[in-house]
Amino acid sequence: MNATVWITVIGLVVGTAAIKALGPMVFGGRDLPGALVRVIPRLPPALLAALVLTDTFTGVHRSLVLDARAGGLATAALALALRLPLIAVVVLAAATTGLLRALG
């Protein structure tokens, strides 16, 4: 078990470093191909929206689930609409989710 854990740490370190280095090494220091230039400004909303929804609705074994996290996300959306600071947004989201679990 212990060896498995440390092999995992080493594998993740090496792999993550390689992934993070690849884009800057290969595509830095020169002009990007025209198609990429137009795609890149549009990447943040696509990737961030995917992260929000997969983190909210993914259950175990690749299933989609609707659970207390969705209530937390709705509260976060409301708090952001009210322009509350981010730390208040995440605390309210967590509190809502915890409360829904306690009630449910």
Binding site: N2, A3, T4, V5, W6, I7, T8, V9, G11, L12, V13, G15, T16, I19, K20, A21, L22, G23, P24, M25, V26, F27, G28, G29, D31, L32, A35, R38, I40, P41, R42, L43, P44, P45, A46, L47, L48, A49, A50, L51, V52, T54, D55, T58, R62, A68, R69, G72, L73, A76, L80, L86, V90, A93, A94, A95, T97, G98, R101, A102
Partner: protein, 226 residues
């Protein structure tokens, strides 16, 4: 590209500090996530490994994904694959920041290590430009709180109990929503985010975790003339 004057050491330090300030709210939110990582990881990985993992891997979703595999009795190869699949999104993120890096190849590779979601989004200046000094500053503060939170979680795990009981698993979605809201003010972003979210959810039941997020990048090509 920043003008030459913007690259003076004084300017770079000022933008690094501005990045740190912008990163503070995300660093605090990330600390809550790190505490829950420490709490959940300790019974599976022991005390030292979660702390080392946070210090050298520093990638929340990958750390949770690999932990889930090991907790379920999976092997190292599966755990590494699960974690790295979630980190694949740093490929398009890395390509995005590359043109804003004015350094040599090794310098660019080193700065690429600072890529984390919040810093990437916070350093986005629109039009495909990223403020690399701000990115480094935002990552610096998040790195400190990520490690602090992990240590706290490992030490206080017995007291805190199951982090999901107090809803800490809802912190990440709220964290990413905070970043997304800023992006939605840009033209065309609503349709792109809706499409990206749809792609990711549609692929979640059929592909390993992380790949649906990478696939959502395809939404960025929406409406482009060929």
């Amino acid at each position: 590209m920043p003008a030459a004057a913007d690259r003076s050491p004084e300017q770079e330090r000022a933008r690094f500090r501005a990045g740190m300030r912008d990163g503070v709210p995300y660093a605090l939110a990330g600390m809550l996530v790190a505490v829950s990582y420490g709490v959940l990881a300790k019974p599976v990985l022991g005390s030292a490994a979660p702390i080392v993992m946070s210090a050298v891997v520093f990638a929340g979703s990958a750390q949770f994904a690999s932990l889930a595999v090991l907790a379920a009795g999976g092997g190292a190869a599966t755990a590494i694959a699960a974690g790295l699949l979630l980190n694949l999104r740093f490929l398009p993120m890395g390509i995005a920041v590359a043109p804003s890096m004015v350094h040599g190849a090794l310098g660019r590779a080193a700065r690429g290590q600072a890529l984390v979601d919040a810093s990437w989004a916070l350093s986005n200046r629109g039009g495909g430009r990223f403020d690399i000094s701000a990115l480094l500053g935002a990552t610096a503060v998040q790195y400190v709180t990520w490690n602090l939170g992990t240590v706290l979680g490992v030490l206080a795990g017995g007291v805190l109990g199951d982090p999901s009981r107090i809803g800490l698993d809802a912190v990440y979605p709220a964290f990413f929503l905070g970043l997304l809201v800023t992006e939605l003010r840009r033209p065309g972003a609503r349709l792109i985010s809706l499409t990206g979210a749809t792609i990711a959810l549609a692929l979640t039941p059929v592909l390993p975790a992380g790949v649906p997020i990478l696939a959502a990048a395809a939404a960025a090509t929406l409406g482009l003339r060929s």
